[in-house]
């Protein structure tokens, strides 16, 4: 899969979006090739992008040595998994070369705040995704509003 | 004034002396010498030896000085012995010091710890045959467990009058492990057997070490509830050690608690060997039977290891059987020394610690069993 629209369609976080919403959201994403050893995000840096994994593997390192490995197309690396209050809270390292779709956090959050129905669906799906992928990350901080990211 | 001097002189040790006190003072000095000069169990022999000096100063009754006078300080300290308080505290410290890794790595070696306890029961029979009452015979037999606190604990429960001789015999033979065991070990093994090398033990996870004291405690105490005071404290101490988060408590248990209990136990047990009370024909019998018990325990462990080798694919060095008597860690050290005399590159100490610590568990169970069986007689 290399088409952003296809990945959004497959991603459990965005599967709930309608076609129009998906198209407008897809425009915000930009494809990036990633190489093993690349650091996509560093904790404490300003949070500029969220990422949607196309292929490859990334390691998301959290506080206290916790981490999660993401390697499925459609894995979304954003919200509290990645940032809080405009700052990255975790470090994202590439383990296996591949590609990701990056979305500027400001644009993404603006989209969510504009599309309230879509936002609710995305946040609900996100909670389910987080439960499956990294439930332990939910306890780091209780953040429920998009602008906190 | 003269009469005052004479009265005072009549109260001095020089006037009240008796050859039995002098004899016991000599034994006490011997203990101190063995502890300091020969380094035989100094932490036990020095307090006991000095306690013997304390207990054998000839004193006039009524002033509340002697350990057997109810209003004396020593009597109050001795309360911890007669009521079996100090031994569980010592077991708490032993638990907090002991690493059960080698036992967990090769649990089959635990059987050697069980085999060595047969010495206890054979000596029990011997003591009965020599005319001791069953409760006394059980207390004498436990000397073969080579575990001072266990011997004192059981004797306090079954035959309090014999605490002195039994404690002294138990600790004497424990101190003499390097002298008593090697000839028996060599006699019962061939050179080829002594050369057997043990397999490298597997690595033990932290989780296993934490679970072990809980499982061991539940299993053994459900089987022999009377072993509860000793095994409970041993396993609790070990849990404190392995849990890591309770390191501060473990530190206290393996330092302050065990040291305090050892000092008080050693001193008062030594002081209880008052010549007039201690030097009796039964004490001689206890010493003789204690030596027999120790020898049988050592031999049982070694012979059982040889029997196990008939069935095991990966043979064990039968010298390890001698470590089945508790005497931690001296008997394990003896195994190492005897093994290295044949092959200096053969390191048996780590492996010998497995039967050694299982011997502690085994002797505590044996004590519990004897206590509960005797209580019914």
């Amino acid at each position: 899969m290399s088409n952003i629209k296809e990945i959004l369609k497959e991603s459990s976080v965005f599967i709930c979006l309608g076609e129009d919403e998906r198209v407008s959201l897809a425009q915000l994403f930009e494809k990036r090739e990633i190489q093993a050893g690349d650091i996509l995000a560093t904790a404490e840096d300003a949070a500029q992008y969220f990422f949607l994994l196309n292929n490859g593997t990334v390691l998301l390192a959290m506080d206290e040595g916790k981490s999660v490995v993401l390697n499925k197309a459609g894995d979304f690396i954003g919200f509290e998994l990645l940032s809080a209050k405009g700052v990255y809270r975790t470090t994202l390292t590439v383990l296996e070369s591949g590609s990701v779709f990056a979305v500027p956090t400001q644009d993404f959050l603006a989209f969510i705040q504009k599309e309230s129905v879509a936002a609710t669906a995305i946040m609900t799906a996100w909670q389910g995704y987080l439960d499956k992928t990294a439930s332990f990350a939910k306890n780091i901080e209780d953040i429920s509003l998009p602008y906190n990211f | 004034m003269d009469s005052l001097f004479i009265e005072f002189f009549h109260n001095t040790g020089f006037y009240l002396w008796d050859y039995r006190y002098l004899l016991m003072i000599c034994v006490g000095l011997g203990f101190i010498y063995l502890g300091i000069a020969k380094d035989y169990e100094p932490l036990l022999l020095v307090p006991i030896g000095f306690g013997m000096l304390v207990g054998n100063i000839p004193i006039f009754k009524g002033l509340g000085l002697g350990i057997y006078e109810t209003n004396s300080v020593l009597h109050y300290l001795y309360f911890g012995v007669t009521q079996g308080i100090y031994p569980p505290l010592i077991f708490l410290g032993i638990g907090a010091m002991t690493d059960f890794s080698t036992l967990l790595a090769r649990p089959v070696l635990m059987l050697l710890g069980a085999a060595a306890q047969t010495g206890i029961f054979i000596t029990f029979l011997g003591a009965l045959a020599l005319g001791f009452a069953p409760n006394e015979a059980a207390s004498i037999g436990i000397i073969g467990g080579a575990d001072g606190p266990t011997a004192i604990f059981l004797t306090a429960k079954l035959a309090p009058d014999l605490i002195g001789p039994i404690a002294v015999a138990a600790y004497s033979y424990m101190a003499l492990v390097p002298v008593i065991q090697p000839p028996i070990m060599r006699l019962l093994t061939t050179r080829k057997e002594r050369l057997i090398r043990m397999e490298e033990p597997r690595e033990i996870t932290k989780r296993e070490k934490i679970i072990f004291p809980i499982v061991a405690f539940l299993l053994c105490c459900f089987l022999a509830p009377a072993a509860l005071p000793l095994l409970g404290m041993l396993c609790f101490g070990n849990l404190l050690k392995e849990a890591v988060v309770t390191e501060r408590l473990a530190q206290t248990a393996r330092n302050s608690v065990i040291d305090t209990a050892t000092i008080l136990l050693g001193l008062t047990v030594g002081a209880s060997t008052q010549g007039d009370v201690f030097l009796t024909p039964s004490s001689v019998g206890i010493f003789a039977l204690g030596a027999v018990s120790f020898g049988i325990a050592t031999a049982s462990g070694v012979i059982f290891a040889k029997i196990m080798n008939l069935f095991l694919k990966s043979k064990i060095n039968p010298l390890l059987g001698a470590a089945g008597v508790s005497a931690v860690p001296d008997s394990a050290r003896v195994v190492q020394v005897v093994g290295q005399k044949e092959d200096p590159t053969n390191f048996l100490l780590m492996h010998a610690m497995a039967p050694n610590v299982s011997g502690v568990i085994g002797s505590a169970i044996a004590a519990g069993v004897l206590w509960s069986l005797m209580a019914k007689i």
Binding site: A36, S67 | P107, A129, E208, C220
Partner: protein, 145 residues
């Protein structure tokens, strides 16, 4: 009373036999439990193995497939994986993956990112569900040793 007569009168033989039997029973039971303990813990740490136990023969197939679909270690890679194993031995049972990566980088292991990823893919390194990871020794032995 002395000798055999005293032993018989005090029921000495029975007490001795019962005593020895109980001591042996206790320690034999304990040794059996201990011998099984690490196997139970290994199952506990890898719940997939418990599931496999109940799936009869079916799980064998996908497991083999999974392994063959993923990575087959070359000899040079096996060496690196063994070095990873040594690093893991210095860590706690439930270790931090970023920390392991950091140690691999400090130790100058070859292709640390790729090899760490391979360990994850082959399920030698398994997530424990709380953000930490465990080392599946059986899988390691199977694929590398």
């Amino acid at each position: 009373m002395y000798g055999l007569e005293a032993i018989n009168a005090s029921n000495g033989w029975a007490i001795s036999v019962v005593g020895v039997t109980i001591v042996f029973t206790g320690l034999v039971m304990l040794s059996i439990v201990i011998a099984q303990l690490y196997k139970v813990l290994a199952l506990w740490e890898n719940p997939s193995k418990i599931k496999a136990l109940f799936k009869k023969k079916q799980p064998e197939k996908p497991r083999e497939e999974q392994i063959s679909n993923r990575v087959v270690f070359a000899e040079s890679q096996k060496e690196v994986v063994k070095q990873f194993a040594l690093l893991v031995r210095t860590m706690t049972d439930h270790f931090s993956l970023p920390r392991l990566l950091q140690l691999a980088l400090i130790s100058d292991l070859k292709d640390p990112y790729l090899n760490l990823n391979n360990l994850f893919k082959t399920k030698i390194i398994v997530p424990d569900g709380s953000g930490f990871f465990t080392w599946d020794k059986d899988m390691f032995d199977k694929l590398v040793s």
